[in-house]
Symmetry: C2
Subunit: 347 residues, 2 copies
């Protein structure tokens, strides 16, 4: 029900900027960005902000819609930079932001740069822009300066935590050592932080009681952790046609996924060694990727990961239970359904 | 006199973050960033914020030092991303931020990524981090929430304008059309904005009278324009040993510098055609670079550019004149000297 309003808020922010631009390329740039932002997305983060706000204030006011899209811009900022880092030209079957501009490059008659470099350059700046545009959501006249500043603080914190998560992930890929604690820390930051801050921003605007905030945080971070664990499973064992993502990427990139960590825990020394040996290759054949996949199966890694996810599911459910006295029933239900959906999703 | 205090403020902000980190890589990451930030820099932007504040309030309080370093972080954020875009591994003879991490990569035993990709990835995130860390400068307890929020607004605006400048520049490189107006607009955004906002942030904290603010803006933007015009000249005709920058980069990259635009204005049709032809090559020999340089000389492009810079110098001087009734003499003098220095600098 809120999704069209969220999309309208995203459009309006970008349309306003486009309207102010005089330079033709900047108009094209922001138009491509609008296109990219509106091409898809479940808008989970804005919906969480709105649900937190409505659930706490017991209202259904529209004034929270604009602030709710801030984190969605930030989310997209991280996707834009991630796709450059991971060299992914497509995301869910659609061109990545930087790749849109590699394609745009063909419009030029005079090609001093090559298309790929042009795309990367615009993509680096594109992430910066998305981040900066998102913060406009908190210069909001319907809320006090203090509440807006509070949100900006959360927004900064969210970006910082995502950055730390991505940095730890890049470092981990080059480390031989695997640790489930480090993995959980990494995904709490990389994926949990944005979800948590979406809720906290909604709660902050609703002037939520401080003593209940930690429960909202637990729910948010754990939702992110579960999302990422399932994402890891789908990233290797999902249906490419449904997820729109190749299922060999994580293995080839040597990502420290939940699957890999659990497999290393469960396999015997000999097979563990064999697995490390496979993963240390700079180029892997399709057969070798399949061998890794088979070792994951042999180690029952999927079930180990699901068990791990269930642990965080229980914690999140408990947190929701504690929020019941101060959050509307219908929003608690929304949070519960989302939690179930994230654990059980196949895409 | 303020430079050591500025460097201390930069160190403190990063030391505080380093102290909070537990992950070894994040500690290394922020330590490398601190190293990079403190390796050099004239601290012009913080000095401008401090001079504006002190000149207006007629005080010499230290509480403006911390907010003054915000734009310096932002400036470094843009340098980090620019060096990736321009593929410059060195800046003033020292490793660029991304290149520091290409080198750091050798520390890993298990190398899943290659060093260059690792460096670029960390560099993309490094620019993001520098931007976000810089904004902490405005969460300042010595100033009111309103004044801090005002600075955050300027900070966002500064980043947006730099981004627009860089985007226009990248677009221009691929355009055949040259225009002095577009060039001035581009450098006002790319270089002028940060200088202007440094002054406006100082003035805002000093609660400067609104009617005088436009003169401060004019001075700041023009200082940036002059800086960039001279930078263009030094970029092709400077002494590499003094500037620490190769003098063929701009020509090879086909940058729309002041020199190129003025040369195209002054040369006859035949030579103009020849110049365009030279520049449209994707690879240029040293001889061809020299031919371009000779055509610039023939067109008396250096003098045309200097004449252009003088026009902006006069405007900036007039603006300072108008600020005399409301800004301390000693700070006006500092602004005047800086203006002269920027016009006459050889490095």
């Amino acid at each position: 029900m809120y999704k069209p309003k969220i999309n309208t808020a995203i459009s309006s922010i970008l349309d306003k900027i486009i309207g102010e631009m005089k330079n033709k390329f900047l108009i094209d740039y922001y138009s491509e960005m609008k296109d990219y932002f509106l091409a898809g997305g479940k808008r989970i983060r804005p919906l969480l902000t709105i649900a937190a706000y409505n659930g706490i204030t017991n209202t259904t006011e529209d004034k929270i819609v604009v602030p709710s899209v801030g984190i969605e811009f930030l989310h997209n900022a991280t996707l834009i930079h991630d796709d450059i880092i991971d060299k992914d030209d497509f995301r869910r079957g659609k061109p990545a932001f930087h790749y849109k501009f590699a394609l745009y490059h063909s419009k030029y008659q005079f090609k001093k740069m090559n298309a790929a470099d042009f795309g990367t350059s615009i993509g680096i700046i594109g992430g910066d822009t998305a981040f900066i545009v998102g913060s406009t959501a908190y210069f909001n006249k319907y809320f006090s300066m203090e509440l807006n500043l509070n949100s900006i603080r959360y927004y900064r914190q969210a970006f910082t935590e995502v950055i730390h998560g991505v940095l730890i992930e890049i470092d981990m890929v080059n480390q031989k050592k695997l640790s489930i604690d480090e993995y959980i820390n990494m995904i709490s930051l990389k994926t949990g932080a944005l979800i948590e801050k979406s809720l906290l921003i909604g709660a902050s605007y609703a002037k939520f009681e401080k003593e209940y905030t930690p429960h909202l945080s637990t729910y948010g971070v754990n939702l992110g952790i579960i999302f990422q664990i399932i994402d890891d499973i789908l990233g290797t064992f999902g249906d490419e046609k449904v997820t729109g993502k190749p299922t060999d990427g994580d293995i080839r990139e040597g990502k420290h996924t939940c699957l890999l960590i659990e497999a290393m825990n469960n396999l015997d020394v000999k097979k563990k060694k064999y697995l490390v040996n496979l993963l240390s290759k700079s180029e892997m054949s399709e057969e070798e990727v399949n061998e890794v996949r088979d070792l994951f199966k042999e180690a029952d890694a999927i079930n180990s990961c699901k068990k791990l996810a269930s642990k965080y599911y229980e914690e999140a459910s408990d947190a929701l239970e504690k929020l019941k006295p101060v959050v509307n029933e219908s929003e608690i239900e929304f949070f519960e359904n989302l939690l179930k959906f994230v654990l059980e999703r196949k895409f």
